[in-house]
Point group: C2
Chain length 258, copies 2
Amino acid sequence: MHLEPVRDLPEIRNGDDLADLIADRATLESADVLTVASTIVSKAEGRTADLDDYPESGRARELADRIEAITGEEKDPRFAQAVLEESTELLIDAPFLLTETRFGHICVNAGIDRSNVPDHDLLLLPKRPTHSAERIRNGLTERGIDDVAVIVTDTCGRPFRHGQRGVALGWAGMPASRDWRGERDRDGRELGVTVQSVVDELSAAANLVAGEGAGGTPAVVVRDWEFGDLEGSDELFRSVDDDLVRQALRRWEWRGDE
Amino acid sequence: MHLEPVRDLPEIRNGDDLADLIADRATLESADVLTVASTIVSKAEGRTADLDDYPESGRARELADRIEAITGEEKDPRFAQAVLEESTELLIDAPFLLTETRFGHICVNAGIDRSNVPDHDLLLLPKRPTHSAERIRNGLTERGIDDVAVIVTDTCGRPFRHGQRGVALGWAGMPASRDWRGERDRDGRELGVTVQSVVDELSAAANLVAGEGAGGTPAVVVRDWEFGDLEGSDELFRSVDDDLVRQALRRWEWRGDE
C-alpha cells in the first residue's frame, strides 16, 4: 500500500471543482482511493458562515454561560447556537459540546471550525459528506478517471484514548467496512474479529501524510490497496440502540466534582 | 508513505525471537516503523492460558450469570475471572465486559482472545506491550538494524462508530503522538487541532494491509514516513479525570429497557 499527498492545491473557494483541481495535480488510476479533507470540501461547497448568522436562543446562551463559568474561557452564545443548528442531539453539554451532526457523526462542536476560513468566522462540516464524496467521484469519472473510491475525512478525538485521529465522514465507490465473519484462522477456528472499518483506517493512514497547518496537504492518494472479495457494509455511525456509551451519556450530567 | 506486510512468518511459539524471525523476512531500514500484532507478541511471550487456571470467584460467577441471562449465550465464569484478573477497572459489566487492562488500555474482555491459540483456551494481551516493543526494537539493534520504531498493535471497537480499527498497545523508538500546538494555518491563525495520535494511525494503516485469519500477516513495515520535528508525547490512555465518558460509565448501569 502506498500513500502520496496531492501537492500544490490552491486555497479552495466556494464553487471550486475539487475533482478538477485534484485531477490536475495527481495521476489517479483505477482502484485508487482518494481521501479529501472535509475542510476543502466545505470551502468548495460554500459551507462558511458568520456568527451573526446565528442569533442566540435562550438555550444557546444557557449552554455558553455554563461552559464559560466552568472553563473560564469566553464562549460566544452564537457559536453554541451554530452547534445546535448543525446537530440532532446534544450528547455532552458541559464542559464542552459533543453532538451528533445531522448526518450521524458524533464530534465536538458539530465539527465547526473557527481556524480555517479566511473571510468568515466559521467553517461548517459538509452537509452530506457521502454526497460530497459521490460528487467528487462522479467528477473524476467525467474526466475519464474511472473507479476511484473517494473518502471525505476529518480528524477527531475519541473516548478512552488521547489525541485525534483521521476518521471518515462520507465515502463513495467502496463500502465503509469489510466483514470477516465466517473467515477462519490458521487452525480453522472462526475469527473473533468481525467488522473492520476500512474507511476510518484509510482516513487515519491518509492523515499521517496529510499533516496540518500551512504545510498540510488536504488530499491524499492511496494506491495498491485492495478491499478484497469480502462482504461490505455502509453502517459506520452507531445509533443509540447499539451504543452503550451514548445510553450512558443520556443519563449523565457534568458535576465538576469528579 | 509505503506499507509492506512481512510475509511467511511461521506459527509463533513461546520463546520465539520475533526480532529474529521478522529480520529474516523483511529488509528493515533505519527510520522504518515496524508494527507487530499483539497476538504473535503474546504467543512469543507465552501469554497463553487455560480456563482451569482461573477458578471462578463469586463475583465472576455473578457477572457470567448476568450476561448469560441477558444475551442468552453461554458465558464461562472462569473466562469472566480471567478478564477480572487482567483488569484494574470494570467499566461496563453487562451485556459485555469492558475493562481497563493493567497497562491502561480499555477494551472488551481485557483483550483476551479465544480464537487464536492452538494448544490453549486463551491468549492474553502482552503484560507490558511497551516493554515488548522495546525488546523487539533492541533485538533488531543487536542484529545491526538501528533506529526502527516498533508498535505492538491490536484491533478494537470504539464508541459512536461501528467496526474495529487497528490501535497501538505499546511503542518504542518514537512518541505516541505529535503535538501541532502553536503551528499555524495558511492565514497565520493557530490550529484548532492539537495532538495527533500517530501510533494509532500507524496501527490503523498497518491493519489495512495485515488482514485477518489464515491469510493474515501479523507484521507490517511502514517506510517513508516521518514523525517530523514536532513535539511528541507518550500519553495515549486517558485517565478517569480527563475522560467524561469513563465518568459517565461509572454512574451507569445496564437496564435493558433502552
